[in-house]
Symmetry: C2
Subunit: 270 residues, 2 copies
C-alpha cells in the first residue's frame, strides 16, 4: 500500500525505510521541511504538499515531537484524509484520545528503541481495532511491529511506562549528580558508589553523553508521562521534575559527541 | 569513653553495639521508650532518664527519624549537655545547620547501608571539625566510621545524594509499575523489559518486598532530600513525589515477609 510518513526525522526516516523494505510505497511531503529532513528522506517518494500526500496514501503515520501530535492530526484531517491514521508518538493515552476525535480511523502506536537501522533493536507497538492486521502488513523491515490486543491508548500507555522509567531515572540520576557536585560531595559519593553500587559512576557519565544531545526533545514527553500518571491517581512530580531538568540541557541539542558530565552539571547548576 | 545513643532502634542498636565492640561504654535512656526498643537495647547500660544519660556521656549520638532530628537535639541541649553531639540522621544539610544552632559541639554524620550486624556492609560518614579524631575513636566494630574532610553538612549531603538515588529510583520504579497496572499494560511492559532491560521485572518485585515494610519512615527522608536539591536550585519534584508514594505504603510497616507487588500496587492505586 501507499504509506505517508509525517515526518522523516531521525526516527521517522528509519520507520519509513522499514516500511519500504516491507514492500510498501512510502511517501512524504517536502513542503516546509528542513534541509536535514530532505536529506534523511532521500529514497522516499516526495508528494510535495501534505494535501497531495494524504490524497495518495491509504495509511498516514505520524512520528513527531509529543507537543505537535494533535496539531499534525488536525492538519491531516483538514486535507479530507479518509484512510487509516497511525499516531506513533510518545504521548499520553488522553492525547491519543484527543487525536481520535480529529481523525476517523485511528490506530494507536508507539516506538521503543533507537532509530530502527538494524533488526532486533526497535519495536513499534500498535493497539486499537485495526492493530493486528496493520502489524502484519507493516512487518518485514528492521522495525518489528507488534500488536497489543487492547484498545486505542494501550500502545501509548506502554511507551509512557517504558520511557517513564528509562528517561525518568536518567533525569533523577543527573539531578543527584548535580546535587553531589553542588554540595561538594561528588568524590565521596563516587567512592561510596564504587563500593556499594558498582558501575553507577560510569552510568552517570554515559547518561550525560547519551541524553545530553536529545534532552531538548524529552521535556514534552516527560510532561505527557506526568499527565499519564496523574490520570491514574499517581504522583506526577517525578516527570515534571524531569521535564524541568531536561529543559536546562536543551543547549546540547544534537551535540556530537555528547557532552561530558562536567558540562552537563555546569548547565544544571547555572 | 561513655557514649549515649538516642535511640537504639533497628539501626541505632547496631551502632551502639558496634561502638561497644570498639571498646566504649555505651548507654541509653529507657524512659518513655517502647518494649521493642527495650528488647533491642539489651546489653547497653540503661541510664534511665535522658538527663542522666547526657550528664554521664562525653558523646551523644542521635539516630532517629528525620523529622525528629531537631527535637531530639533540643531535648539534649535542655539537659545542659556540654559534650560532643553527633547527628547521624538522614537529614538535609540545612537541618543539620539548625541542629548546630541548638547544640554546642556538633559533628555531622550519616549512615549508609543496612543495620551494621557484620563488617563490610555499613558505613558511618562524619564531617566537621572533630570528625577525623572521632572516626578514629569509633572504629573497631562492624560499623566502619569514615571522616570526610569537609565542614558540617557534608556527611548529610552525601546521604541525601545516596538515598536520593536509591530510594528515589525505587519510588519511581513502583510508580511506573502502578501506572502500567492501572493502564492495563503490565504484561506488555514485562515482555518489553524482558527483552530490552532484563532483570527489571525482578527488581520491581524485590523493591516491593524490600521497601514496603520500611516505606512508612521514608517519606520524611524524601522531604529532606527534596529540600536539599531545592537549596541548590535543582528540581525537588522527584522526591516530593517519592514522599507521596511512600506515604501510601505506610500500612505495610514492619510487615514480614514484605508485601508482594500486587499488594503494593493495590495500595498505590486505591
Amino acid at each position: 500500500m501507499r504509506i505517508g510518513v509525517l515526518h522523516p526525522g531521525k526516527m521517522g526516516s528509519t520507520v519509513a525505510a522499514s516500511f519500504a523494505a516491507a514492500g510498501h510505497e512510502v511517501a512524504w511531503a517536502s513542503e516546509d521541511r528542513s534541509d536535514a529532513t530532505v536529506a534523511r528522506a532521500a529514497g522516499l517518494i516526495d508528494s510535495g504538499s501534505l494535501s497531495a500526500l494524504c490524497d495518495s496514501s491509504r495509511l498516514v503515520v505520524s512520528v513527531c515531537p509529543p507537543h505537535a501530535a494533535v496539531a499534525v492530526a488536525r492538519a491531516v484531517a483538514a486535507t479530507g484524509f479518509d484512510g487509516t491514521y497511525l499516531d506513533a508518538n510518545a504521548v499520553a493515552p488522553a492525547t491519543v484520545a484527543a487525536v481520535g476525535t480529529v481523525v476517523g480511523d485511528l490506530v494507536d502506536g508507539s516506538i521503543i528503541g533507537p532509530p530502527a537501522r538494524e533488526p532486533g533493536t526497535t519495536r513499534m507497538y500498535l493497539s486499537g481495532e485495526g492493530a493486528p492486521d496493520l502489524a502484519e502488513a507493516l512487518n518485514g523491515g528492521p522495525l518489528e511491529v507488534r500488536a497489543i490486543e487492547a484498545p486505542v491508548g494501550a500502545a501509548s500507555a506502554l511507551k509512557m511506562a517504558y520511557a517513564g522509567w528509562t528517561k525518568g531515572s536518567a533525569a533523577l540520576l543527573l539531578a543527584i549528580a548535580g546535587y553531589a557536585e553542588a554540595a561538594g560531595v561528588r568524590d565521596a559519593l563516587a567512592a561510596e558508589w564504587h563500593e556499594s553500587i558498582p558501575g553507577l559512576t560510569d552510568r552517570v557519565e554515559r547518561t550525560s553523553r547519551g541524553v545530553g544531545p536529545k534532552a531538548w526533545r524529552f521535556a514534552g514527553e516527560m510532561r505527557e508521562i506526568a499527565a499519564s500518571l496523574a490520570s491514574e491517581g499517581l504522583p506526577d512530580g517525578f516527570h515534571l521534575a524531569a521535564a524541568d531538568l531536561y529543559e536546562h540541557l536543551s543547549g546540547f541539542k544534537d551535540a556530537y559527541p555528547g557532552p561530558e558530565l562536567d558540562d552537563v552539571l555546569r548547565e544544571l547548576l547555572d
